[in-house]
């Protein structure tokens, strides 16, 4: 094992591959080296000098972010010498900092605040000099630059240069007059530019969309997956009092590294819609009437049992679980099932291989295809004419789609948003949206990824897989899963590619499966 070196970091002995930077080796030893300019998805310029650590026998403190481990290194991250150096960097960073934490969006998730609390000086020695002042700059569609808070770590500049390949940001001026400048002929409007807000370790680059919306410590965070396209970037849904207020990237080195695109980032308002279907509605004497789940499920069961020709019009945002169970519900009939796939321009992130905002703007195209759904929407609409039953699974219908429904004998809606145009349906059943349920999506590379419930469902809404499974139970006596985990485990029987997989196999970063002919042909 000559490729491994043995090092001791704060007394912990570990073996790491040759060439590992000290900062990453320390992570593996369970030691955090405080840092600002270093970011695992960016080149390291070693400018902030926050990560200086003592390596025994080295003449000077070394920057842990760019110094690689050597066999036998004894490294001290938390001894007096290293701490004193960090304390000093913090002091230097703070002399020109406005300390406007009470009105700063970053407060509570600010690395300057955190490290200062952890190991900075209690008071200032700067005295009564004026601090550096630069006005707030509007950098682009969603980004403001609050220069006074900037610590010049250059993460934003490097992201735009080295990752986005759109070098619109720069360091302007020298000495303590330096600030981040923007090319006067350009805006920070690259389709992935919003990542600079997450990368900024302080509150210098902030999102206009999130401006003064919530304090970081009031947010609840839920692991999720972006619904914007087939890439399946991992996200974090931030909620405040059960309202989604922000989406941020969640690291997944195999899918999106540390990034999400601006379109995905801003695509959350629908999760908070208030105009929701809240109770099951069944047609009673020609009128839609609220009822309980028992009666509603019996009605749905009876409808599918009686139907010979069925069409499913589904949303590509539906979970694999829901798509699978809704499809199983109509087993035995002649079925045309399709999802609607809106298209848009592809927008790659140049510096990360295989990462792009994809043309197909739905998250679960691959999951739908595994579950037996096609993408020929007009064929499905044509099939609706003369069908015994059309099941609408939360699909986003335009007026032409709605008109096509009139050719069917009956329409059953499993949906989220109240839609007057569907008032002629036989059944309208309230479903959860993705932020209100646990589920999985399958991305374009057949990575099956979990998302978690971020907020409660309104009224009587239930996950669509539950509705379909219970109706199937009512119609055909098949056992219905009680939880999303059970539902996923049962999908293997419908989608061979998922056979044997459980939620715990997927972890937080998903699992790539091999789509086989059996799964796709169904």
């Amino acid at each position: 094992m000559s490729d491994l070196v043995n090092v001791t970091i704060d007394g912990v002995q570990i073996s790491v591959p040759k060439g590992t930077p000290i900062i990453e080796a320390a992570k593996q030893a369970g030691v955090l080296v405080p840092h600002y300019c270093y970011h695992p998805s960016l080149p390291s310029p070693a400018v902030c000098r926050m990560c200086l650590v003592e390596v025994e026998k080295a003449p000077k403190l070394v920057p842990a972010c760019v110094t690689t481990v050597a066999d036998g290194n004894v490294i001290h991250v938390n001894n007096d010498k290293s701490k004193r150096a960090r304390e000093s960097v913090l002091e230097f960073l703070l002399i020109n900092h406005p300390l406007d934490c009470p009105i700063c969006d970053q407060a509570g998730e600010c690395e300057l605040q955190d490290y200062t609390f952890q190991e900075g000086r209690a008071g200032t020695r700067y005295g009564d000099y004026a601090k550096r002042y630069n006005p707030v700059e509007d950098f682009g569609p969603d980004v403001l630059y609050v220069a006074n808070r900037c610590i010049l770590c250059t993460r934003c500049v490097r992201f735009m240069d080295n990752v986005a390949g759109d070098a619109v940001l720069n360091v302007s001026e020298r000495g303590d007059r330096a600030f981040i400048g923007i090319d006067p002929d350009h805006k920070l409007d690259h389709p992935w530019a919003g990542n600079v807000v997450d990368l900024c370790p302080v509150g210098s680059l902030i999102s206009k969309d999130f401006l003064h919306k919530a304090r970081a410590w009031d947010l609840d965070k839920t692991a999720s997956v972006c619904t914007g396209c087939t890439q399946g970037c991992n996200t974090m849904i931030d909620t405040r009092d059960d309202v989604v207020v922000r989406l941020r990237p969640r690291p997944n080195l195999d899918v999106n590294r540390h990034f999400i695109c601006d379109e995905g980032r801003s695509d959350y308002r629908w999760m908070n819609r208030g105009d929701r279907i809240e109770a099951p509605l069944v047609r009673e004497g020609g009128k839609l009437t609220p009822t309980d789940w028992t009666q509603a499920l019996d009605r749905l069961g009876a409808a599918v049992k009686a139907a010979r020709r069925v069409v499913i019009l589904a949303s590509g945002r539906a979970s694999t679980e829901s798509l699978g169970f809704v499809r199983r519900m109509v087993d035995g009939a002649s079925v045309t099932a399709a999802i609607k796939v809106p298209l848009g321009a592809e927008a790659p992130l140049a510096g990360v291989p295989n990462l792009a905002l994809r043309k197909e703007r739905v998250p679960n195209l691959a999951g739908a295809s595994l579950a037996g759904y096609g993408t020929d929407w007009s064929a499905a609409l044509a099939a609706a004419k003369g069908a015994d039953l059309v099941v609408v699974l939360d699909a986003d219908l335009d007026d032409a789609d709605v008109a096509a429904l009139s050719g069917a004998a009956a329409v059953a809606v499993i949906g989220t948003v109240d839609d007057d145009r569907l008032a002629g349906s036989a059944l309208i059943l309230p479903a959860t949206n993705m932020a209100e349920e646990n589920g999985t999506y399958v991305n374009r590379d057949h990575r099956v990824q979990r998302y978690f419930q971020a907020k409660p469902a309104p009224g009587m809404a239930r996950p669509a897989w539950w509705i379909a499974a219970e109706a199937t139970h009512a119609a055909r006596g098949l056992a219905a899963p009680a939880t999303a985990a059970d539902a996923f485990a049962a999908l293997g029987a419908m989608i061979p590619a998922l056979a044997g997989l459980t939620y715990s196999d997927l972890g937080h970063t998903g699992r790539v499966v091999t789509p086989n002919a059996a799964g796709a042909a169904r």
Binding site: P45, A46, V47, C48, R49, M50, L52, P59, K60, L61, P63, V66, A85, S88, V89, F92, L93, I95, N96, R125, Y126, G127, Y129, I151, L152, T154, N170, V171, E173, R174, G175, D176, R177, A178
Partner: protein, 435 residues
């Protein structure tokens, strides 16, 4: 010679022999004075033989750090199939230093010849000469000389019929001191912001445009032709003290002396004689107070230290400072040390490239504290604070600009504490207007 003064008998004129001699600027004039013989000789030698000759001569870098030149050249990879580059550092922005300027003004072909020798020895076909932006006259002289050298076959695709290609590209700086730091210079030549790079990788592995690169000072490269024509043994013999410091060196002397200028001395020459004899000593009625011998980036020497020091790399270290670029800033007893130190700190604060936290914020903060002291508003804890900040600014950053700012402050407070005390105790009237 001590141009603009006639040479002093105690000088050893090698590099400066033709300073002030306008004919030496032309190609023919330079050839008439024995020029380009060294280059022709070099082209008949193997690169290794040249490097060995330089190693034997003991020549060390004249840009500040004093790194052995032959050894530096030997770090360049051999037969790696990549383009190599030589960069000549003619950015000379170190306060108090003006020797490279005179080399370029009067003996441009001396530098061109040295560059060509260096390029050949390290396997480079291209040499960039990075000339300080403010050097308008040297720029003109160098531009004309390079054109002439091409016309006469000393540069270009077939140097003196050897079949070797050597090109020289003149690159004009835009007025940033930091671009004199070698890795910042490479960025600047590449068209990027002149920020120093982290090492490793070292320039010999990945330098200009990512290719193996050697960077040398104007004076270093200019010395090579003389070593090749007169021999390493001759050069090594030019030594009055420590055998690790050989050859002649141009000393720029400025400040409170009667005859400021460049003086070319054999290494190991007594500093006392340089200041009091060659440079003409103090003005009448004035006494020597302090010397900063290495440009402004080294510790300040007291009069006693300076007068006891020998002018070479080791001799000045022994007396508490460093040779640096050998730009001597001489100060007599009329000097307000606090004011001078403030002025230097202000220079570094202005020139910091702003990458490293300690340097960006530390140089500016330090300047503000010194300013406050000069305004008569200093606090008694200010000296400890200055020393503490300097401590944190030393050995912590990508390049040594930060350390350079700290050096005069630490030595100044240590060696001239009473001058600081005078301001702090309000015994002395403020030197700057209070705000």
């Amino acid at each position: 010679m001590g141009y603009p003064h006639p040479p002093h008998p105690k000088e050893t004129v090698v590099l400066s022999k033709y300073f002030g001699d306008a004919e030496a600027r032309t190609f023919d004039g330079w050839v008439k004075r024995g020029g380009y013989e060294a280059l022709k000789k070099a082209l008949g030698m193997t690169p290794d033989a040249i490097i060995e000759e330089l190693k034997a001569s003991g020549l060390r870098g004249r840009g500040g750090a004093g790194f052995p030149t032959g050894l530096k050249w030997s770090f360049m990879p051999k037969n790696d199939g990549k383009p190599h580059y030589l960069v000549c550092n003619a950015d000379e922005s170190e306060p108090g230093t003006f020797k490279d300027r005179e080399i370029m003004r009067w003996t441009p072909h001396q530098l061109i010849e040295g560059c060509a020798i260096g390029a050949y020895a390290i396997g480079a076909e291209t040499c960039y000469i990075y000339i300080r932006g403010e050097f308008t006259e040297p720029w003109k002289v160098m531009t004309a000389a390079v054109a002439e050298a091409y016309a006469k076959g000393a540069l270009g695709g077939n140097v003196f019929g050897s079949g070797k290609r050597i090109d020289i590209v003149l690159h004009r700086g835009a007025g940033a001191y930091i671009c004199g730091e070698e890795t910042a210079m490479m960025n600047s030549i590449e068209g990027k912001r002149g920020n120093p790079r982290i090492k490793p990788p070292f320039p010999a592995q990945a330098g200009l445009f990512g290719m193996p690169t050697t960077i040398n000072n104007v004076e270093t490269l200019s010395s090579t032709s003389h070593i090749l024509t007169r021999g390493a043994a001759w050069y090594k013999g030019l030594c009055l003290s420590n055998p690790k410091s050989t050859g002649t060196k141009l000393f720029s002397v400025c400040g409170h002396v009667m005859r400021p200028g460049n003086y070319e001395l054999t290494m190991g020459f007594p500093m006392k004689d340089l200041i009091h004899d060659l440079a003409g000593g103090m003005r009448p009625g004035r006494r020597l107070k302090a010397v900063i011998p290495g440009g402004s980036s080294v510790p300040i020497m007291t009069a006693a230290e300076a007068e006891a020091a020998l002018c070479d790399y080791e001799g000045i270290v022994e007396k508490g400072s460093m040779l640096g670029s050998a730009g001597f800033i001489v100060m007599d007893d009329s000097t307000d040390m606090v004011y001078e130190i403030w002025r230097l700190a202000k220079f570094y604060a202005h020139e910091s490239c702003a990458q490293c936290t300690q340097c960006r914020e530390g140089t500016a903060w330090t300047t503000k504290i010194l300013e406050r002291i000069l305004r008569g508003q200093g606090k008694k804890e200010d000296l400890d604070l200055l020393l503490d900040l300097s401590d944190q600014m030393t050995g912590r950053t990508i390049c040594v600009l930060s350390d350079s700012c700290a050096a005069p402050i630490v030595s100044g407070i240590k060696k001239f504490p009473e001058e600081f005390e005078a301001y702090l105790s309000r015994a002395k009237a403020p030197a700057l207007a209070a705000v």
